[in-house]
């Protein structure tokens, strides 16, 4: 599934990176500690978080993530949006909380990677 497919199936709204939704999603990662995301996310992952700071775009770029989903109705900071457009990182938003959204994605076959 691509980021576009997932956005469509789960009613996510796209806030940035509209031209970068074609990437194939390799799995998911959910965390709000950016140091943890740097350590454990994998290339092509969709990242679910409630952090809205511009650093999320830098982390997604560095780790070559497929996109970022902000949950609980949170909106990206203005600086985050601008940076995401510059870097071509999709930012999607959902009114659902992280647990619920991750559960629904998992049910549809988007899984987290096992640690080893």
């Amino acid at each position: 599934m691509t980021v576009f497919d997932i956005a469509k199936s789960f009613g996510l709204e796209t806030r940035a990176g509209k031209d970068h939704l074609a990437e194939e999603v390799t799995g998911g990662y959910a965390s709000d500690l950016l140091s943890d995301v740097i350590a454990h996310s994998r290339k092509g992952n969709l990242w679910i978080t409630i952090q809205t700071h511009p650093n999320i775009v830098a982390v997604a770029t560095m780790k070559e993530l497929a996109g970022i989903i902000l949950t609980g109705g949170r909106e990206p900071d203005p600086g985050t949006l601008q940076k995401a457009e510059e870097e071509g990182i999709p930012i999607l938003v959902s009114p659902l909380f992280t647990f619920e959204l991750a559960g629904r994605l998992y049910q549809k076959g988007i899984s987290g990677l096992s640690p080893c």
Binding site: D32, L34, S35, V37, Q51, H53, P54, N55, A58, V59
Partner: protein, 245 residues
């Protein structure tokens, strides 16, 4: 004339839910002097309601107490703000209170006691001081700067509530004055691990929550006098001021 001052600028009082009830003005000032400190700062979580009492208690005994606060940003980063006058700290408190949801649950988080300079309890703060504000980190920093205060990112070597833990790395162009390293990390380790942040001054303070920890960690500053303005100069190595390694 410049001289070296021994400073512990991160101490919690009994107002912080996690701060021991014995962390009151006379007791802390006594302990700070016994530990040989020239200057301390009271930095409670998201509140400054005890700073005036501490400043008075300190001035009676010849100890400089800087009014301060440890603010929790929206990203759940702990940030120290230090000032010269209680009014500046209380202006910050006003902004923080407008953006601090929730009520404290004393049984879970601990009591939040407001005291006077004689160590007498005046009442209890009911806000959830342990919680996070709704304020983005950079907004707090620019507000503190507009009040000419000092900003130091707390315990950056810890995973929890630190700028490095929460944000992965320190954003470019951020207007912080310094970085605090906790006692968990040695000077040498810190130098290696935070090599890329050498543009900032590193400081060590106790983050004391109990009397026995006051002054256990401290930083020597080369200053003309014990003010936050001088500390700011020192953190940027301006006008001959500095942090003594």
């Amino acid at each position: 004339m410049l001289r070296t001052f021994q400073a512990d600028l991160h101490i919690h009082s009994c107002l912080s839910p996690c701060g021991d009830e014995a962390m009151r003005p006379q007791a802390i000032v006594h302990q700070a002097l016994a530990m040989g400190l020239d200057m301390i700062a009271i930095c409670d979580h998201n509140s400054a309601e005890n700073v005036t009492a501490f400043v008075s208690a300190g001035s009676e005994r010849g100890l400089t107490v800087l009014p301060g606060m440890e603010i929790t940003s929206k990203e759940e980063i702990h940030l120290l703000a230090l000032f010269d006058r209680p009014e500046e700290c209380l202006a910050l408190q006003e902004l923080v209170y407008q953006n601090l949801p929730g009520e404290n649950v004393e049984e879970v988080f601990g009591s939040q006691t407001v005291v006077n300079e004689r160590d007498e309890a005046l009442g209890t703060n009911r806000k959830m001081l342990i919680g996070a504000t709704l304020l983005p980190l950079e907004r707090i920093i620019s507000f503190v700067n507009s009040l000419r205060g000092v900003t130091i990112a707390s315990h950056i070597d810890r995973q929890a509530f630190s700028i490095v833990g929460q944000l992965g790395f320190i954003p470019e162009g951020i207007l912080l004055d310094g970085l605090e390293i906790s006692r968990r990390t040695s000077k040498e380790e810190a130098k290696k691990r935070f090599h890329s942040y050498q543009r900032f001054s590193f400081v060590r303070f106790s983050d004391a929550h109990h009397l026995g920890d006051v002054g256990k960690d401290f930083t020597y500053f080369l200053l003309e006098k014990t003010t936050s303005e001088e500390v700011k100069l020192a953190l940027h190595h301006r006008e001959g001021r500095g942090v003594v390694e």
